[in-house]
């Protein structure tokens, strides 16, 4: 035998010769009778797909979402989402509410982007009435939009780590989100469902501490955000579970109507802030983060990089809040002119649309909310086919589903 350890050819040869020698003495082995051919209808040996209910009470579905999985072993063959467990018929309620009341229903949809949801209705009403909005309102709204986006992404990041088995990220995410909710609490009294917007402007002016606290937060979070990368982005286990998993192509994404960071990870530049600017987004500098890989890791990366952009937008605006009124003068009872109005805004999850059909009365004739999560969820089956069950958890985390937003 040669000195090299890994000369497999030689090792295999020597092994085979030995075994052949060992077997040779035995002889006269009777040929066994051929087995009966297995009939396909044999109920014991028949294989079949099996079904598993994931949810509605499952921690990683992030709400009451029920997925019926068709499985072949551990491989997913089909995912069928069953939604509607928390359908509150907000659209029907809107038909008998005034426009001022409707605003308060919308933050019960996507509660992590509540301020942006409120704003979508307010902008739709303001554009329909052709109201002149004070510049101060526009800038404050933009800052709080970005704070909301940050808070939502922080929560998503914490929960994403938790879904993949890392408890620390959950604590980190919530620790930093706490600072933003404190700012919100001081601004409008609420931490989650803010109701800070009213048609025409804001409910009250910002707190005197607002600018100082936001600046403190930005300085603080700029130091903390690299920690997020240290903890997860380079982690080998994390990379193994996210890279190349659940790939969506650009064509799929556009056809399924996917929007937000989920779509931008697949190369679809769909940011409403860039494509159809509203608020002060046309006067600030920010990059639209677009990646082309389309896998779970790209969706993760887009949100991390978006947090940097949000910080940059806040920094550009926080020292330039113009003086002035915090609300335009509106009539006590708002009536929209007859017609149809559509307003698009970019929430933390994607393209939120508000479609109002007005017949000139004090409440809309028909109100439709095009929620980003609803369309994003429709691509889940296509995305998760062929993956393992554990991968589905990772994919769902990066879809960032909020169920009240989907069910409405």
């Amino acid at each position: 035998m040669k000195q090299t350890l890994y000369n497999w050819d030689e090792m295999m040869q020597s092994e085979t010769t030995e075994t052949v020698e060992a077997i040779e003495p035995s002889q006269s082995v009777e040929t066994p009778e051929p087995l009966e051919p297995i009939e396909h209808s044999d109920p014991i040996l028949k294989t079949q797909d099996y079904f598993i209910n994931m949810g509605p009470q499952h921690p990683s579905t992030h709400g009451v979402l029920r997925l019926v999985l068709t499985l072949d072993g551990e491989i997913i063959k089909n995912v069928e989402p069953h939604i509607g467990y928390i359908h509150r018929s907000i659209e029907k309620m809107c038909e008998s509410d005034s426009y001022r009341q409707i605003v308060h229903l919308t933050d019960r949809m996507d509660y992590l982007s509540c301020h942006i949801n409120n704003e979508a209705v307010c902008l739709a009403v303001e554009n329909a009435l052709e109201l002149e909005i004070p510049d101060r309102v526009v800038v404050i709204r933009t800052i709080i939009d970005e704070l909301t986006r940050l808070a939502s992404h922080q929560l998503w990041w914490g929960v994403m780590g938790m879904d993949l088995g890392a408890i620390t990220s959950f604590l980190y995410g919530f620790r930093d989100r706490e600072m933003i909710t404190d700012i919100f609490e001081e601004t409008c009294g609420a931490r989650l469902t803010m109701n800070y917007n009213v048609p025409g402007g804001l409910m009250f002016d910002i707190h005197p501490n607002f600018q100082r606290k936001v600046k403190e937060f930005v300085q603080y979070f700029k130091k903390k955000l690299p920690e997020y990368d240290d903890l997860l982005s380079g982690n080998v286990i994390f990379l193994e579970r996210t890279k190349g998993i659940g790939v969506l192509t650009k064509e799929d994404v556009i056809s399924y109507g996917v929007s937000g960071p989920t779509a931008r990870a697949s190369g679809f530049a769909c940011d409403v802030r860039k494509r159809h600017p509203y608020n002060a987004y046309d006067r600030v500098q920010f990059k639209e983060i677009v990646m082309t890989e389309g896998d779970t890791y790209a969706r993760y990366r887009v949100r991390i990089l978006e947090m940097w952009e949000s910080l940059s937008i806040i920094e550009q605006l926080i020292d330039n809040i113009p003086e002035g009124e915090y609300c335009a003068k509106t009539k006590a009872v708002i009536k929209l002119p007859v017609g149809e109005f559509y307003q698009r805004v970019e929430t933390a999850r994607g393209d939120l649309g508000v479609y109002i059909v007005s017949d000139g009365k004090k409440s809309p004739y028909r109100m439709k909310f095009r929620s980003p999560g609803f369309s994003n969820l429709s691509a889940l089956n296509h995305c998760a086919k062929g993956c393992k069950i554990a991968d589905l958890v990772a994919i769902m985390s990066t879809f960032d589903l909020v169920l009240p937003d989907i069910d409405r």
Partner: protein
């Protein structure tokens, strides 16, 4: 990018008698259900229009008829149009499904079927999506009476 007039001429090429309304934001084109597929396919596949992104699909009940509203956008050419399908038959409201053209319509059409009872012909899986399977009636219709709701709003 096509202007509203060019889009109007384009839709007229593919449909017998469309009705146009120039809304405040978008051009609205109302077509009959029998022309819907031809117009939708032309809008999606013609390189001059290439409306590849449907960002909203909604149903509206106008008491006398239903309207299925498709908000379309082109991601390459950056123009928008609103296609509407007027369904006059309230007993058998049949509309061809566009889910083969835009996959996102699959979920949205199920929602419109659930809440308005508009039936989408050739839809791969037309079931209720938000409400229970055994729910009676379609609650977003204007003539729907909810007997469980003791507080009548509005």
């Amino acid at each position: 990018m096509m202007s509203n007039d060019e889009l109007q001429a384009f839709i007229q090429e593919h449909c017998a008698d469309p009705v146009f309304e120039t809304g405040k934001q978008y051009l609205n084109a109302i077509v009959a259900p029998e022309h819907l597929m031809r117009v939708a396919e032309a809008l999606r596949h013609d390189p001059r229009t290439s409306f590849d992104y449907m960002f909203c699909l909604s149903g509206v009940d106008f008491s006398t008829h239903f309207m299925v509203v498709y908000h379309l956008e082109s991601t390459t050419l950056n123009h928008c149009v609103v296609l509407k399908c007027k369904v006059s038959d309230r007993v058998n409201p049949d509309v061809p499904s566009v889910s083969s053209i835009w996959r996102t319509a699959e979920f949205h059409e199920r929602e419109v079927y659930d809440l308005f009872g508009v039936r989408f012909v050739d839809h791969p899986d037309l079931r209720r999506i938000l409400l229970d399977d055994d729910w009676v009636g379609h609650p977003m219709r204007k003539d729907y009476v909810d007997e469980a709701n003791i507080v009548q709003l509005g």
